[in-house]
């Protein structure tokens, strides 16, 4: 396509499809539009809650794998996390947000989530 650059690869369409699939929205800033300030703020708050939810989930998985919980405790912990996930879905839907919206770019450190 370009004058001098070369591309060596097998099925280019496979790479193109994968890159397109993982492409993230460009703008990850708080929406400063006064009409939609609520959504911008919700995005920030829900991103932080999602971070905490994922940390809790990982910790729970570690405890289950370590075998330190009784069957009853596993059931209750699982139900709590399941409800937390459902509530997050509800809040995202309420503010018109999707999974890929909940992130913060930390510059050289990459994305928060």
């Amino acid at each position: 396509m370009f004058n001098e650059s070369t591309i060596h690869g097998e099925r280019l369409e496979d790479f193109a499809a994968e890159m397109e699939r993982i492409a993230k929205p460009r703008a990850r800033r708080i929406n400063a539009d006064p009409e939609r300030a609520e959504q911008g703020l919700a995005k920030l708050v829900l991103t932080l809650i999602e971070l905490l939810r994922q940390l809790l989930e990982r910790q729970a998985v570690r405890r289950v794998e370590a075998g330190s919980l009784s069957a009853d405790e596993v059931e209750r912990l699982g139900l709590t996390l399941m409800k937390l996930e459902a509530k997050m879905e509800e809040l995202k839907s309420l503010f018109g947000l999707h999974d890929q919206d909940l992130n913060l770019n930390l510059g050289p450190f990459g994305d928060l989530l």
Binding site: M1, F2, N3, E4, S5, T6, I7, H8, G9, E10, R11, L12, D14, F15, E18, M19, R21, I22, E57, R58, A60, V61, V64, E65, G67, A71, V74, E75, R76, L77, G78, L79, T80, L81, M82, G107, P108
Partner: protein, 252 residues
Amino acid sequence: MSGELYVYGIVDSRCGLAIAGRGMAGGSLQLLAWHEIGAVVSSGGSFPLRYETEHVLHHERVLERLMKGHSVLPCRFDLRLRDEEEVAALLQGKYAAFRANLRRVADTQEWCVRALWDPEELAAWEELSPHGSSERINVDVSDSPDGGAAYLLRKCQAWRREALLHDFAETLIEAVHEPLQRHAQESLTRKCLSERLILAAAYLVPRCRAAEFVACFRRQRLAFAHLQFLLSGPWPPSSFIDEELRGPLMVT
């Protein structure tokens, strides 16, 4: 007619401009210098209100021609400045950063390597991985498949799969990336961008070692025939520009 200047890239100005030709809006390419650095710009026409694919390719072609004779810091597409004074202000304001970055990428090219794999291979890999094979979750979910324990079990499996993927990527990077980086001045790697795209790496390769780098890539491609590889380049070294210059100014 517009007085705006379209900016393509920043180069070392001491040798003058090594290329000629027309720019984005039909005007001649020219070098506007400030001490030892300069901006390659074009002017003299009206810039389109709406860009087409051809305009993006034109921007890229100018950069690739510039690369032949210069070390270049590529500016982002559609960077337009009001007039020569504004270009001079940009060069003056970021002079130290531009010079430092030009020194960093002097006589180099950027090459990118991506690798895809088939996630189905994970099953085979699991047998070899410390994360796999042994079933460590002793939870009976047969009575309540939609209950809390079943939910946690699914999460455990998902996290385990992710850990496996990262183990595999680490091993892959060690095996694929190490020989390549020996031919590079610097490299950046990202792993597990998705379940399939397991490696995306950029290499800052000295021009004199580009042929060696490509030959090394071909060897790696043969050695890891179960992966799909993509090598692209040479590109202007946009991945190796300091954060300070990125964003609104330079290619990110």
